[in-house]
Symmetry: C2
Subunit: 197 residues, 2 copies
């Protein structure tokens, strides 16, 4: 693993000593996954949280009709996992799956509890990371409640232009709560409008 990517991300919020960095890295497990591979399964306890060194992933919930509902995407420098399952060590509501080949830096629940004791500043680090993720969800809930379907889509591609290139359209449709056909209709209308203007 390229340690500098991970340590640089950590240093965005806290300053660790060389000794602390060494201890942290000793607990981080680097793993590679192939496109389509499942990193963590719904119904199983999430043992790891995952920091994305490279690649892209999705977390999704399967409803009882077998439909996949995408909760989140993640690319380089993002964290992904079922935080509810990880924090409580109860079965997960979400599956985490690779959209592209991925390299992940993983921290286990047990190791993170040790690290919280040994490097209390990590409490601050994760407080800030989780706070950002919370605000992101807060924004998403309000967008879901207050925007039209078209506004939701335009908002999404404005906020995350990189996803439009890297994530298949049917996944973006699932994330936005649309059918693939409906998203295709919105995109078509938009491209007609753009080519006319």
């Amino acid at each position: 693993m390229n340690n500098s990517t991970f340590l640089h991300h950590i240093s965005n919020h806290i300053s660790l000593t060389g000794k602390e960095e060494k201890l942290l890295l000793s607990k981080v497990r680097s793993r590679e996954f192939l496109k389509g591979q499942v990193v963590a399964h719904e119904g199983e306890i999430s043992k790891f949280i995952n920091f994305v060194i490279s690649g892209s992933l999705k977390s999704f919930h399967m409803d009882n009709k077998g439909n996949e509902h995408i909760l989140a995407f993640a690319i380089e420098d993002w964290w992904i996992g079922d935080l509810g399952s990880f924090a409580t060590q109860k079965p997960a509501d979400y599956t985490i799956q690779c959209i592209e080949n991925c390299e992940l830096a993983q921290l286990s629940y047990e190791d993170l509890q040790i690290l919280y004791t040994e490097i209390p500043q990590l409490e601050r680090f994760f407080r800030i990371v989780i706070q950002k993720a919370y605000v992101f969800f807060q924004r998403r809930i309000i967008d879901n409640l207050s925007l039209t379907a078209k506004e939701k889509y335009l908002n999404f591609i404005k906020q995350y232009p990189q996803f439009e290139q890297r994530v298949p359209q049917y996944m973006i449709a699932s994330y936005l709560g649309f059918t693939p056909e409906f998203l295709s209709k919105i995109r078509k209308e938009r491209s007609i409008k753009r080519s006319k203007s």
Copy 2:
């Protein structure tokens, strides 16, 4: 303010010394608000986060058509605020308003930064509180994407039976993304079904 309620809540996650408790309480501002009173306005910077000693509140976003979209409710022992605005000290997306008369314990942004330095354990406390709030939102997003309207309502009253008694129905409708008429229809169907069984 009844300090013991607040300190008991803190002690759910961390153990403070007498000196730390005293310092923390010296920064907490106790305030009373009347039913309907606005605690923090959308568009203004959220200076405080609020812990509910008594009463109930809602946070909502007003869309450009003047419709109110409720993001969250809060009752005793819950925190409420626009965490995005509070954390970044940028204008709020949400208004926080009392549903009942309220007593709140408020912490200002500046004081919390001082407290994080003086009592680093508070990083842990808020990491856990925000983590729980994040998981709550995670659940809500998936419910919105994967449940039918009726399932959403039944889920809500099962999870938060206290809200059904204390919060007007039109607010519950707004929270669930329904019109009040639609919620009324679901409730009617349910009561017919229950009286038949």
